[in-house]
Symmetry: C2
Subunit: 243 residues, 2 copies
């Protein structure tokens, strides 16, 4: 059996907060758990909020923003957080972030930024963020894997789901490659991206408006790997039929 428990009661996170310590204080984290942390509080702890007053939009950002009644400073930040624009159709701006995530507005979040005149951007290196959290749990004597999650849309389907953007300690995929069924057929399923399923599962206890930014998953037999990163999950654009 697998259990998922939300961690509530965390204070409003500010730059420099020790998230691992706060999660241990307010939640129940034990050896073998997977701690799923909403990227927004990681960004806040890492000072990844940007004051809009400090942003000078480019001419490209300004013209497009006027056309679609957007805040040009926010669009400028989206472009800065991106290495390329994947789709820019109508008011929709889907980009590939510097990390390699394809998502709307490069994950830039104007809501819940803690102030009206700033936005929160994704952590610079979410795997490193996850690693620091895992090390923080380790320092308290707890061997827990960490997943940093965010809420992304997807092609073909309406609605968003939470997926992993940074990991530490856990292999992202479970592979069935080379395995066969009793009749000798290779499995149709080749590799399951369990860290995305774990991130989505944790969203079910976190929700998006409630102050439950952390979910603790217990009872999943993860494959420990302290070199694991999100790299194997990010499809290279040369292999991608939809970018």
């Amino acid at each position: 059996m697998l259990t998922i428990t939300g961690v509530a009661g965390l204070p409003e996170i500010v730059t420099g907060d020790d998230l691992a310590a706060l999660i241990i204080e307010h939640g129940d984290v034990a050896d073998g758990d997977i701690v799923v942390v909403t990227s927004k509080i990681v960004s806040k702890a890492e000072g990844r909020a940007i004051e809009l007053a400090d942003v000078e939009p480019s001419e490209f950002a300004r013209r497009w923003s006027e056309q679609w009644e957007k805040d040009a400073r926010v669009v400028e930040i989206v472009l800065r957080e991106s290495k390329r624009v994947v789709r820019q159709i109508g008011p929709v701006l889907i980009t590939e972030t510097h990390h390699g995530f394809v998502c709307a507005n490069a994950g830039v979040d104007q809501s819940s930024s803690g102030a009206h005149d700033r936005v929160v951007v994704l952590p610079t290196d979410p795997d490193a963020s996850a690693r620091r959290l895992r090390d923080g749990f380790g320092a308290a004597g707890i061997d827990a894997a960490v997943i940093i999650s965010d809420t992304f849309g997807r092609p073909w389907r309406e609605g968003q789901t939470d997926i992993a953007i940074g990991i530490a300690g856990i292999t992202p995929m479970v592979s069935y490659i080379g395995q066969h069924d009793p009749h000798g057929h290779e499995f149709r399923v080749q590799e399951v991206c369990v860290v995305d399923e774990l991130a989505g599962a944790a969203e079910l206890v976190k929700g998006n408006t409630s102050r439950v930014p952390v979910g603790v998953i217990r009872g999943f037999a993860w494959t420990a790997d302290d070199t694991a990163t999100m790299a194997p999950v990010l499809r290279d654009s040369s292999r991608d039929l939809f970018r």
Copy 2:
């Protein structure tokens, strides 16, 4: 707290089996639970296995299969299960099924079909399949929502995840539209497709090779809706930037 429990010990499913009764017999299903059922056993119970010997491939199927060393009869079935080909690049065949799902090989599964010379295709109407299962639980006095799940790939990311292909009794989305944070900003997240997250969460206890084709999720406060279908999840191609 949310718990997810696998249902093991089901017999090999054959056409006509009463899946709801078998799940109740082998698992623990109670009022308020969400029962996630792997589509493959639903297909088998509904007689959706196709004997390859009965299939006459079209010339299109035959020529493409020769080029990529595929079984032309399986390719023929994939095309019959599809309303259009979305991508056909190298040996990859991604189609839109008659239901509106975009996936590799129309979900046709040659493994675990129970025989070497047949394949299992997706249920004809997965919402109706879910409805029959929900009614079956209801007949036993249990008010449980049902999700039929399958394992699909996705653009941009390696690995597959389980998502919902049919539902009964549960609203597929949780909407945040029109809600604002304390600073008056609309939430970046608009609608969360919880049935996909629930399907992925159940995969974590089911796995793909083990004989655990059902997961029971307890403790999720779902929105009951006996008219709910997958329709709101399937993005219309006119709104889709990646089809």
